[in-house]
Symmetry: C2
Subunit: 382 residues, 2 copies
């Protein structure tokens, strides 16, 4: 364990919605009861509770953003490079919170949770949730933690969508936003990729209309994940990482097993994913992403949708990201500027594609630490 690690962290749970009045009202019109939120915190909340930062995870992430779960745990949290003592999200200074989204499969209530009405897994009886629903649940956690206003809400990819959603749903609760490699709405191409991934899962006979038990639809989920992985890399990074290199031999096998290094990589990613992720969650989360459209609440006018926003923005895109393109970030920036909302924008030159938000830690880290420090100083001086 390095010196700048947050060390061992203990996941926590917060439950709400035990009564009908306390249940979470969802965009689909249904109510979600007995909601659990799995979360982790790092650092200490200061006496004025002005140093709290919420980190939002992406599709396959979880609440475990930094540190380790035990002495023997070899794999740190998913953004450990960014969160810790002296790091960009400096836990000596800030109180960091990260929670697993509802609909997820890493501790928070999702399709594989028990439906209190039936005593069985929800599976496909779980209501279709939205990014807004995820944020509403996070807001309950915020109240529970006694935080009035986040110094920052920050996230990449789907985490960035949640961050943006926060500024609109709770304009007074967010001092600043760090929205990385994200979009105010998915392109039809992204919707199409999500569709194909879900079709792969739902046409796997082991899916059983979502009612699989121990035998999960692993083939379908692996196919969905492999497909998604292609969209996380860039054409250029794939040339750099794999080229047309063969994996096992210097000759073609003339069969259909993995010949190319890129095939081995995908197979490995698919296999690793099914060990840790739930197929039904994958359906629900991708659907939430499809449905996300900030402008829709203002008749398609993004600037108007931002009209009540009070937060300062840091928007970051990556030049080779073709899943959530720089032009989609620029669309957000233009809409914010037209409403005279304070926004800092940077398109980081990177070959890593969408994955850059996890890989360009040095450049991204500097942007984030500067932005957050400035916000912190200003809030302290208010």
């Amino acid at each position: 364990m390095q010196n700048n690690s947050v060390g061992i962290v203990v996941p926590q749970d917060f439950s709400f919605g035990q009564t009908d009045e306390d249940a979470l009202c969802l965009d689909c019109g249904k109510k979600l009861k007995y909601v659990n939120i799995r979360y982790e915190t790092y650092g200490k909340l200061d006496s004025s509770s002005s140093n709290a930062i919420l980190i939002l995870h992406a599709l396959s992430g979880d609440a475990h953003v930094a540190g380790f779960h035990s002495e023997n745990d070899r794999k740190p949290g998913w953004w450990d490079e960014m969160v810790g003592p002296g790091k960009s999200f400096d836990t000596n200074k800030y109180f960091i919170v990260c929670s697993n989204i509802i609909g997820g499969c890493s501790g928070s209530t999702g399709p594989r949770s028990i439906n209190p009405d039936t005593g069985k897994c929800y599976n496909m009886d779980f209501p279709v949730i939205t990014i807004n629903d995820m944020v509403k649940a996070q807001h309950r956690l915020m109240v529970h933690l006694g935080i009035k206003k986040w110094l920052a809400v920050a996230g990449g990819s789907m985490g960035g969508m949640q961050a943006i959603e926060w500024t609109i749903s709770y304009p007074d609760a967010v001092d600043s936003v760090i929205a990385i490699a994200t979009t105010s709405r998915l392109s039809p191409q992204s919707i199409a990729f999500d569709w194909v991934g879900r079709e792969a899962i739902m046409s796997d006979p082991k899916w059983l209309e979502g009612n699989y038990d121990d035998i999960a639809p692993e083939d379908g989920l692996a196919t969905a994940r492999m497909l998604a992985h292609i969209t996380y890399l860039s054409d250029e990074s794939m040339y750099q990482k794999f080229g047309r290199n063969l994996q096992e031999s210097d000759k073609y096998s003339f069969n259909f097993h993995r010949d190319f290094a890129v095939e081995s990589y995908l197979e490995h990613q698919g296999q690793r994913f099914v060990e840790r992720f739930d197929a039904n969650s994958y359906l629900y989360i991708t659907r939430a992403m499809d449905y996300f459209d900030v402008s829709a609440r203002a008749g398609g006018d993004l600037a108007k949708a931002f009209s009540e926003v009070k937060s300062k923005f840091l928007v970051v895109s990556f030049s080779s990201d073709w899943l959530f393109l720089p032009k989609q970030s620029k669309e957000i920036v233009r809409a914010l500027l037209s409403g005279k909302i304070d926004v800092t924008y940077c398109d980081i030159a990177s070959v890593y594609g969408h994955d850059a938000f996890l890989l360009e830690a040095v450049t991204l880290g500097k942007l984030i630490s500067d932005f957050t420090r400035n916000r912190y100083l200003e809030v302290q001086n208010d």
Copy 2:
């Protein structure tokens, strides 16, 4: 039926390889016996047999490039806009040949053909074939038809790969080449998409290691096709064609059926494809594309691989094609130029992505007719 249609065409068959000596020697080291080639011809071969053009089809194409198969046939051949009396490939002037590739499922010998050694379908006992093998089979057809030299060989996408292969394998048999939206080798990204498509097919339990009977692995094949279709369109054309439009209602359904127009489109494409295409063929043909690498035969030196080429080239790419990118066409052009091979190159500005080779008939048609006419005049004057 329009006036400029070739009218009703009758598919023909050419068989060879009835003896061991006559069998097709494949790149994998095996021999293919009792090979059938399904082909169609349009126009008339002139007395000097100097007006013959070979059109090569892409992954899901077939020999039926133009015209109709019967009076009631409503759907013309796949490149009917380009092939006919007075069209770019003018059948009043040229003798056009198009044959279904070996490995295919539209009349030529492929994995669903009978293995003469067993009396049963080859299925996965069919040898893994290459683009070069396809061209070798086409060369047999050429000899059978009494053609000494093609005025042009022309194709888009995988058809372009075959066209390029012709110039290297049979430099004396090709006066000119029209290589459209193609590449001298697949990028790792394209190999990755092919891998995921094949995984979708091979993980469909109905695939049965390729030994399916009447009940084909339609779900897997549809998933593969839907995925491929995304790569045939461009981000921009998907915005133009679908945007985030909903198909059935003006509200989200909050379920997992098709909501978005782009989802309906993909589902429709997937369903149409499984009605006409064979899953095992899909595996073999995509593998052939993966393996294609012109430069590999010269230690990675593309220009050197072209050193024996005697054909004139027309190379065409489309600005928004992200499957076979303009830069991949330019790589071919640069290699040809470095060997002082005559090449005309055009990158057509188009929003249609890879599909542009089927959709930009006007612009493409003019390029092709001019190029071919010039070649024809020169050959006549020789």
